[in-house]
Symmetry: D2
Subunit: 135 residues, 4 copies
Amino acid sequence: MPFSYTRTIHFPDTDAAGVVFFARYLSICHEAYEESLAAAGIPLATFFSDQGVVIPIAKSEATYLRPLVCGDKLRVEVTPTRLSENSFALDTVIWKIGPSDKRAAVARTVHVCISSTTRERLPLPTALAAWLDAK
Amino acid sequence: MPFSYTRTIHFPDTDAAGVVFFARYLSICHEAYEESLAAAGIPLATFFSDQGVVIPIAKSEATYLRPLVCGDKLRVEVTPTRLSENSFALDTVIWKIGPSDKRAAVARTVHVCISSTTRERLPLPTALAAWLDAK
Amino acid sequence: MPFSYTRTIHFPDTDAAGVVFFARYLSICHEAYEESLAAAGIPLATFFSDQGVVIPIAKSEATYLRPLVCGDKLRVEVTPTRLSENSFALDTVIWKIGPSDKRAAVARTVHVCISSTTRERLPLPTALAAWLDAK
Amino acid sequence: MPFSYTRTIHFPDTDAAGVVFFARYLSICHEAYEESLAAAGIPLATFFSDQGVVIPIAKSEATYLRPLVCGDKLRVEVTPTRLSENSFALDTVIWKIGPSDKRAAVARTVHVCISSTTRERLPLPTALAAWLDAK
């Protein structure tokens, strides 16, 4: 079952076409990932800072299905999948909440654990591996 | 009594110093303003688009008191004050929630109602005036 | 030959990991697209506003190859390809400028021309079609 | 004589009112500050990261005079003033370039040098003091 995060579209999320800028959908996906980690007890402030081990996003793919405007309510669902001992993927669906919910975007991001100094691959941290295995 | 909005700091809010970028505090103040309008039944999608009448921010002042990091929980309190038939101010306090809440920033923004074509001052829209008078 | 745009990484582009946030790479790709249109004489203020015809991004794909930090100099190369009478793709390479330039990211975005009211596909505007055919 | 930085407004700078969001003017002021430091030979990647000594912005004030739209060209002028051995101010004017240049905003930011661990005030770093004194 995916982790679920709710979010309202705010004015700074929008652009001069009156809707949410495409890259901002990916930021919203990242927020849902953060909330999923926080719900699993992982402290975000240290997790996302550079402590020698970092887990950058290596790839992203997204399909944008519906425009979003200021005030829209979203439900964002995240499903993680382990890819290797160093990497995992997140499949995220952004739902626009309404009389019947509609998909506003689907995205996949691939995350790879590396050393921030040598850029060599490292095993995923224990807490993250536990979060992946719990899903 | 001020309107109150809660918010979590997310990774895209932060900068390379590891904390929230100063201008982002002002975006967060704006989010609280939006939520206060929405709570009063004002439809945000049309309110903030250019429909001939716009209410841009003419001035901002902020004092930044505490750094904020990814995962921090905020309570944002907004108190509006009418300044004239064309303008109002918002006094916003961003509280960092903790064992004892601490002020992370205080800000004042001044909003002026104008025609988007002539840039001349116009009376505040009725729904906004009602929102101001209800506070 | 691709259109080329230069850009410096600024502090608000970075996040708490000390590097540019992944979604921001896509914003930088969009800036290069805008500069390419401007160089072809297309007025951006009206092009990107909603005048009944809009050209949203339907898909994006990106591979992030290198971290970028504050002060880094970029060369962003954009190559457009027409896909149909309603759509085109942009292939963008973000180069980190150095003693030898290195690719920091490659991205593809797919743009589809539609009516902003009916969401039905429309032929690309003449100026945009001319820009595509000139490449 | 102020330091001068040129900038084009891009689509991700705008919001659903069709113009640049007020907080973004302050980000643009910060970019000009960065460029002024870089022109003085100060390496930005380390300057703005947390190396024990940080120089957060303690206050900001801005007056927004003119809307800015996608494609607008700006000249941003920064004048620094030392306030104490720990602090300085930047007075920034954002000019919209045109047949006759017009001020789009004026802003003042106050920057205070502190320890990132104890939050106590520290003398400004030598390179920064030299930059201030050269102005």
